[in-house]
Amino acid sequence: MNVKRAISKTSVHVVLVAYTCLALFPILLVIFNSFKAKRAIFLSPLTPPLPTTFDLIGYNRVFSDGAIGTYYMNSIIVTLGTIFFTLLFGGMAGWALSEYKFRFNKVLGLYLAIGIMVPIRLGSVAIISMIAGLNLINTLTALICVYVAQNLPLAVFILSEFMTQIPKDLREAARCDGLSEYNIFFYIVLPLLRPAMATVAVFTMIPVWNDLWFPLILAPSGGKQTITLGVQQFLGQYVTDWNAVLAALSTAIVPVLIFYILFSRQLIRGLTSGAVK
């Protein structure tokens, strides 16, 4: 029995380890090669950087390029802005849908659910003309608006689901304590939703950080490029600066990793324990 269990346990881990290797391999390859001289990248792409092939030229070139810093900043602003507004509006909408009973409540919920199913890129043409009409081309505001719209449906869905788990007595106690509906939301509901908000933040952050499409069509120039788009300047039609591309991609992982660690700390469960009973 024990042997059987051990075997099944090991086999699960073998599969998981294999998958991890597969998933991490391209990332490792990028990081390895970002520390190698150009010749070594092409001659032996799979070997880790050795003392003979070690070279920081890619990083030097990325950091000496003044614009790259701006691109990082743009990406960070867009990502954080998107997370903030998605959580704020998503939380408020989720609260309204889960707490208040009004006409069209169900219909609105369904409408938002459709938003999860329809990919926003189908509306690219309409979005461009709308953003152009608002004079927001080549601004970070345009990107934040579009990303918030893109992420809102799922955020509302997840957050309202979590909100229904907040005991009704808590909200009523707050009402008896004299809190306005807004204060109940900000002082009682939001603090209790921290794990759910962290989940939504992680879901929101990664596709936004990695997105190339909307920066390309909405903010392709004027110093408002995001890092994923900024890397493209090293990719030429005839000559590609592979050292710089790989170095820029490697450094692009760092901020998103930091965000992830920050948010995942909030993913502590059982925050509501002790509230009731």
């Binding site: 007595d169 009523e172 008896c176 002790g274």
Partner: protein, 353 residues
């Protein structure tokens, strides 16, 4: 502190009437307990007083103000919930002072009131703890503390003891009674436990199916139930009920045809259906013949007393209190006696005769 008066209160959920024409006065400083079976509307009535449930018609007055259209916070009430409803992300001190913060009470004042409440409830060592680090009884005290610091006109308790274990429940019950004396507070208290109701209340309100069945002092309800429902509901074990048909002046027949003699009021006449009620402690079991005869089923011994469960000839289940040994064994046919002063008679519609 203020009195509460409720007049002609009605509430329905769609076609279902949950409160039907409720009229109730709660005197200043009195302890009123709403009691009744589940679904009788007692919690809804309490929540209507608190302002958490809108009502369809009627008026609720707290003090001299009609509060129907006021938000819970403006009604100057404080509610203690069955689940305690403590804010899990705040420590005990913040939990208690939270409402005051939003009422723009000065910081020193909040501190003073919280300290005072903590002293009364012996919560001083726990002020910095979070709710999840407290036991059930402590959480209950914090919930009461949160109500006290707001100095409300009326305290509302919604089954506050039902999540506590039996021993703690008895203790907390005594604590609440003491607190009421100390604060001279007006309290409306909901429970389904009639022992709580009997021990705590100045006045008990027995509710059933959205109506008030009887309002009165605990012992009045016990000795003079206004109707069959109250008679059955108050008292544990419940009152024994025997349906009878009046067969003559001062005689009546059980369903099995046995004739018994009782002094009947003049208002009943031959052929009327009436109900006889006798509390278990007023019924004695004897070996010989009694007023009723019944077969002994089970004897429960609780220590200083016991209960004999019997089945009468006509099929009613009866309970008689025993002091000492049972006069027979399971299956024996025994006699049941009771004094004329201890009987309760109810008319066919359930009202007291």
């Amino acid at each position: 502190m203020a009195q509460v008066s409720i007049s002609a209160l009605k509430k329905s959920y769609g076609p279902v009437d949950v409160l039907k024409d409720i009229n109730l006065d709660v005197d200043n400083g009195s302890f009123v307990v709403l009691v009744g079976p589940s679904g009788c509307g007692k919690s809804t009535l309490l929540r209507s007083i608190a302002g958490l449930e809108p009502v369809n018609s009627g008026a609720i007055k707290i003090g001299d103000k009609v509060v129907n259209d006021l938000a819970p916070a403006q009604r100057e009430i404080a509610m203690v919930f069955q689940s305690y409803a403590l804010y899990p992300h705040m420590n005990v001190e913040k939990n208690m002072g939270f409402g005051l913060r939003f009422a723009k009470t000065p910081k020193e004042e909040i501190k003073a009131r919280v300290t005072e409440a903590a002293r009364i409830l012996q919560l001083e060592p726990l002020l910095k703890r979070r709710p999840r680090e407290l036991s059930g009884g402590q959480r209950q005290r914090v919930a009461i503390g949160r109500a006290i610091v707001r100095k409300p006109q009326v305290f509302l308790f919604d089954e506050p003891l039902s999540n506590l274990d039996a021993a703690l429940r008895v203790n907390t019950r005594v604590e609440i009674a003491k607190l009421h004396k100390l604060l001279k507070a007006t309290i409306v208290y909901v429970t389904h436990d009639q022992v709580e109701a009997m021990t705590l209340a100045d006045k008990i309100v027995v509710m059933n199916q959205g109506r008030i069945e009887q309002v009165g002092k605990p012992l009045d309800l016990y000795y003079k139930p206004a109707n069959l429902f109250v008679a059955r509901f108050i008292g544990s074990p419940a009152m024994n009920i025997v349906p009878l048909t009046v067969s003559g002046k001062d005689t009546a027949k059980t369903k099995s045809g046995a004739e018994i003699e009782l002094s009947l009021p003049a208002s009943v006449s031959k052929g009327d259906q009436i109900t006889l009620g006798v509390r278990p402690e007023h019924m004695t079991v004897t070996k010989g013949k009694g007023i009723l005869t019944a077969k002994l089923d089970v004897v429960e011994r609780l220590g200083e007393l016991g209960y004999a469960h019997l089945e009468s000839e006509s099929g009613e289940r009866l309970i008689a209190e025993l002091r000492g040994e049972a006069p027979g064994q399971t299956g024996d046919t025994l006699g049941l006696n009771f004094a004329a002063k201890d009987i309760h008679l109810f008319a066919a519609d359930g009202t007291r005769l």
